[in-house]
Amino acid sequence: MYQYDEYDQRIVAERTKQFQGQVERRLSGEIKELEFKPIRLQNGLYMQLHAYMLRVAIPYGTLSAKQLHMLAHIARKYDKSYGHFTTRQNIQYNWPALEDVPKILEDLASVEMHAIQTSGNCIRNITSDHFAGVAPDELEDPRPWGELMRQWSTFHPEFAALPRKFKIAISATPGLDRAAVQFHDIGVRLVENALGERGFEILAGGGMGRTPHLGPVIGQFVAKQDLLSYLEAILRVYNTYGRRDNIFKARIKILVHALGVEEFRARVEEEWAFIKDGPLKLTQAEIDRVLAQFAPPAYETLPPANALLDSFRLGKDRDLARFVTNNVARHKQPGYAAVIISLKEKDTPPGDMTDHQMDRMAELSERFGFGEIRVTHTQNLVLPDVKAAAVPALFAELQKLGLASANANKVTDIIACPGLDYCALANARSIPIALEIMQRFEDIDYQNDLGEINVKISGCINACGHHHVGHIGILGIDKQGEEFYQLMLGGSAGHDASIGQILGRAFPRDQIVGAVEKVLTRYLEIRSSLEERLIDVVRRVGLAPFKEALFGPPPARTAQELAHADH
């Protein structure tokens, strides 16, 4: 993974020192909250309901063991002994004291991490496929390109005050999307053209939030050396023409859809013509410099993993069998596997991890791999390089840590934002809904019978819990100060991306999980085969059977309505 050079280290250290002075002035009353707010946000520090919250960037979701140990140390020393992994592959601390934040930033800098640009109207953490570099189906590791984008976007002087925040994701697997690229301000797909050349397909104007949109393709095929100049052209068009008069219409998705794809593309191409062959053109030497930081580790030569993993799946240890079936993924290197560590344990908020678990996980990453851990946008972790033969031993260690849930991609593998338990923007709680769903459907055999189901819960329309793209999406809303929940079906963040549709009136807090159960029961009644997933059924039959399960049969139409329909 990328290592800071002298320049990186110096600017992060200087930024930390600068923030320390700003915090001191805020605590003394020399500067007021109105002045301090933009400063703290630029350093990833929010004010939530009960405390400050510090968001730390984990570029493209890749952590070293040393870094995870440091995240554990920070949780233990400055917070309440846990951290919360988010849908943007970041980690958040929910309880830091203001005077401690500069010390936290110093500690982070010592392991080449920071919280810069994790908030504010700038380019945020670059996210990627959590199996990047090990997926057998990818063209190549997308993370070096993520790193090049990170270096380009960090402290970019022109893009420090965009109309609104800006999120970029990159993926490199044809026909598969594990990074939700179609729902980002810019989605980057590494592709191969008809001549066998590799470059990038660039999407722009995707997003969730108040007005969800799938990002259309803007650049069909951008050569590798032109990646940064093309992104710069898109950002310049957005920075120039994006709306600043209305926060709800300020994201690039609004601009792209207001101008139309053709006009937006024309403006990007026009801008690009000026800068394409300028200093942003990537030289092969620069590309090679970054590629070298992501060289594959020293894998052993081993027989293929499939037969061994199949033997675990069919073995007498049914707990291990379920774990291998659901949580172990194929690896490009023979004899190895990628293992999903579910952070969706019963009674634990999705994405939460204690300092003890982080420390032990860092140790396991060294014992069972090469000291690398991935954070997924579904709020789980991945150990990317586990020898297939070592999976039972790893599973035994995970059981001791309470991290052995075999529920990856099942109904209890829920994405949930912090919601009204923590977030100042939320209308309703998300975590208690997630915990109740986990409890009600905890029987793993039932979960396996249901098959792949993604449940995603947001406590407000900002959609940090990705409710628009859940097979089952739940959105918390406020009705006269009380919590209600809208239920939606049919969303997907994958290559077959779609936006979920609302089923009907919102449910009060005590009815929403029962409503989810009715949807699942109806799904089991009407699926055509064990292989037909909930999302497939929704696409085949629409919402009507599920509406009927929730609200009863539709009212009979009057003779007048029928006559009107005949017209």
């Binding site: 309440k80 002994s81 204690t354 975590i431």
Partner: protein, 102 residues
């Protein structure tokens, strides 16, 4: 039954750690809703917001919110303010010692 007349309190977050702060009658700040000063006119509550704003080294972003005065004490009237006054409704890994007034 006629709706009781509205009453207000002033709340904010402590600058030092972001904890929920309530404006007391003596113009200091408490972490406890039960210690909040209750205002029977909006003008008086807004005047208290101005006092809080003058103490920005102690608290941030003060605002007023309606409460109900019940026999057992003050009741927040929205889910948001109930959660602010009582803390997260889900388990926090290392809870604070019993919340003390400050």
């Amino acid at each position: 039954m006629p709706k009781p007349p509205p009453q207000w309190i002033v709340t904010a977050n402590f600058t030092a750690d972001g904890a929920v702060a309530y404006f007391r009658a003596d113009q200091s700040f408490s972490t406890l809703l039960s210690e909040a000063a209750v205002f029977v006119t909006k003008d008086a509550a807004e005047a208290a917001v101005q006092i809080a704003l003058a103490n920005e080294h102690l608290v941030a972003d003060p605002y007023l919110t309606e409460v109900a005065v019940a026999p057992q004490g003050l009741d927040a009237l929205t889910a948001r303010e109930r959660i602010r006054s009582q803390g997260p409704t889900v388990r926090v890994r290392r809870p604070d010692p019993i919340t003390a007034s400050r």
